[in-house]
Amino acid sequence: MLLQLFLSFFKIGALTFGGGYAMLPMMQRELVDNRAWISEQELTDVYALSQCTPGPIAINTATYIGNKQKGTLGGILATLGVITPSLIIILAIAALFDGISSNKYFLWALAGVSAAVCGLVLCAFIRMVGRNVKKAMGIIICIISFALVFFFKVSPIIIIAAAGVVGAVVPLIGRREKK
């Protein structure tokens, strides 16, 4: 199990391009579909937590899921799993293949990958809408958050905090009205 945690996150670290949200399609596939270590809802919650805590999303997710599966040691091993490919690849590039970032074949491949990642992230978003956006309240929160970040560049932390307050308060109002 500890080895499996390390290996799954190694795979995620080695095979995702673009960091952050671009890693979401791979995490949905590996962690939700293949391993069932976490539900889609909880993965969304971890992303929310990651936006409000220091460090890259991949690290936060690895530490959280490792902890959930196998305690503190699990968290550390999952995190080492996700950073090991970076260490190997970056140190190899820095020490040996200094020219790769201007190699034309590498740049062509990267342009193709970037275009595909756009599609994958869009699909990850569509999938999340299906699982996370329910009822009128969910649809309104989703559209407002989208617009605030995309058009007005509002900090995600503020949006998450506000949405949390709305989520806590709305059921209270509903309950009072029923009485």
Binding site: A14, L15, T16, F17, G18, G20, Y21, M26, R29, D45, A48, L49, S50, C52, T53, P54, G55, P56, I57, A58, I59, T63, Y64, N67, G75, I76, T79, S86, I89, I90, L91, I93, A94, A95, I100, S101, W108, A111, G112, A115, A116, V117, C118, G119, L120, C123, F125, V129, V133, G138, C142, I143, S145, P156, I160, A162, A163, G164, G167, V170
Partner: protein, 187 residues
């Protein structure tokens, strides 16, 4: 002594980089004012490599910057120090959350947050699409539309989206195929 300093500086960067790896970049550039570990032009290259290699961008940048400062050991020290604050904080948060996750109040808070995070991911997807598939710096009215769109990238994007929604294969298949197509089309 360099290694201790590296560890301390990258621990601080890890601690203050809220909300993902890219927020570390201003801190990495500030280091050039206080140490001669790397120059600002090195940093441009560090960021380019970090963004174009697999893995978390912040981790990649920390590894490369640490390597510039102190070789392979420097890269290891910088990376481990950089992720340490996140590991400590999330470990504590996971234990607290585990205890209270099922509480009705916590669940209603998350029921508000989930659609918000979904909206954030929608914004991230659209920002990616805008930046990768289009070059709006070439925009000079509607007659310039053809030059603004990267048609090869748009085709790969459309095929990926359609086949992913229809067949839902492993993401790495699409990434591998797109890399090959990118080379064949000389993108």
């Amino acid at each position: 002594m360099t290694y201790l300093l590296l560890a301390w500086e990258f621990f601080k960067i890890g601690l203050f980089s809220l909300g993902g790896g890219l927020s570390s970049l201003p801190f990495l550039s500030r280091l050039t004012e206080r140490y001669d570990w790397y120059t600002l032009s090195d940093l441009t290259k560090i960021v380019a490599v970090a963004e174009s290699t697999p893995g978390a961008i912040g981790v990649n940048a920390a590894t490369y910057a640490g390597y510039q400062a102190g070789g392979i050991l420097g890269g290891l020290v910088a990376t481990l120090s950089y992720v340490a604050p996140a590991v400590i904080i999330i470990t504590l948060a996971a234990k607290v959350l585990d205890r209270y996750y099922k509480l009705p109040l916590v669940q209603s808070i998350f029921s508000g947050i989930r659609p918000a995070v979904t909206g954030l991911i929608g914004a991230a997807a659209l920002t990616l699409i805008k930046n990768v598939l289009f070059d709006f710096s070439l925009w000079k009215g509607w007659e310039s539309f053809e030059a603004v769109v990267d048609w090869k990238a748009l085709a790969i994007f459309a095929i990926t989206t359609f086949t992913m929604l229809k067949f839902n294969k492993h993401p790495i298949l699409y990434v591998g195929a797109a890399a090959l197509i990118g080379i064949l089309l000389k993108m």
